[in-house]
Symmetry: C2
Subunit: 219 residues, 2 copies
């Protein structure tokens, strides 16, 4: 008995979530171009994957496409943003005010997508008291005190490797639930905290690996 139109709605894999971000870009690009429809094939081409993959990913969000037509970019935007959790603001705290922090603060994409960096912390007393791009720099020793009850949810760790674990511990005590870590360290965290790590050395080593090992053929 084939239940005809039972909605799929299977769960998104982590890999699929990464692709959603890319679909979103392509879609927003299409919207600003005034495009009223876009096919799985077009989307797939934009990120060098097959159309079937695109359809499967998007099917997880509901029945959004129209057979014979394609997808309406406008109609796609909201469900993708919801699935990624960027349909709301995330009060964000950034620890470690160095060059990376400056780059992150000024990175246009962040504010635009709902990531408001509201607090800056640094352990250097010379920096605490000054401000950067209008955000005051606060002393790291008072992190828990200042942040408790503040509603901070996301923490960006841009401190040296030696201070990363301690910074993470403090942020967590202050109630932060999600960490984006730039320090080249494997952090130990309680199970309720979510972590994404961006380790530049690993990315570069990934590249040299591809050049060394994958040179054989592949595309």
């Amino acid at each position: 008995m084939p239940r005809p139109n039972r909605i799929g709605e299977s769960r998104l894999s982590k890999a699929a979530a990464g692709r959603l971000s890319l679909y979103l870009r392509a879609i927003e690009h299409a919207i600003s171009n005034g495009q009223e429809r876009i096919s799985s094939q077009e989307l797939g081409q934009a990120l060098s994957i097959r159309d079937a993959q695109v359809r499967r990913d998007l099917a997880c969000l509901g029945t959004l496409g129209h057979p014979g037509i394609g997808y309406n970019p406008e109609k796609l935007r909201k469900p993708i943003r919801r699935a990624l959790g960027i349909d709301r603001e995330w009060p964000t705290v950034l620890v470690g005010v160095g060059n990376l922090a400056r780059a992150l603060l000024r990175y246009a994409g962040f504010r635009q997508q709902g990531f408001h960096i509201r607090w800056l912390f640094d352990s250097d007393p010379a920096k605490a008291g000054t401000s950067l791009d209008g955000v005051p720099i606060l002393p790291a020793e008072q992190m828990e005190k200042i942040l408790s009850g503040s509603g901070a949810e996301l923490g960006l760790i841009a401190v040296p490797a030696s201070a990363a674990q301690e910074t993470a511990d403090r942020l967590i005590r202050a109630g932060v639930r999600g960490l984006l870590n730039f320090a080249p360290v494997v952090l130990q965290l309680p199970p309720h905290v979510r972590l994404v790590s961006v380790d530049l050395t690993i990315q570069l080593e990934q590249l040299t690996f591809l050049l060394t090992s994958g040179t054989i053929i592949s595309d």
Copy 2:
């Protein structure tokens, strides 16, 4: 007929290569602690994966472990570095001298692992002519001319999104074979060029996705 000790040597997956970088850190840490042996279980604990996974990854590099004993960190170091392609120097060029570039240049891990940033380029004429951390900043318009025959192999793209594709094209014309791209753009490249992208917005969206969707249970 079970050939008894035929060496495994299967090929490394991309995911495995990422883990090798992490094993390498743990191993170097162990070495500097004077540890003379380390088990797959210890290594696995360090990065929250199972011991069987560690053994399979390491088995790709040859027969390096000793049953009943474990692995000798010193003996592991070289094969891992070789597999990752970091047993030699990679002449590297960095384009786009902003805050991110400054962070990358000063990032201790890079030089230490054989990534020497030898050239800096920027399209801003005010910057060209000056230097940063002892590396002169060169005018982006002359990239091909200056780099041709220079032996540059890796290119780091730290320019705004709007200039990323053009920068990639130029670097490739100048003979660069591997790109690490920080701009939030999907680059179109010829098949012989290898690419790793670090897209900060995507990483943050990955995090909010985990917090939104994965809050259910999981660890």
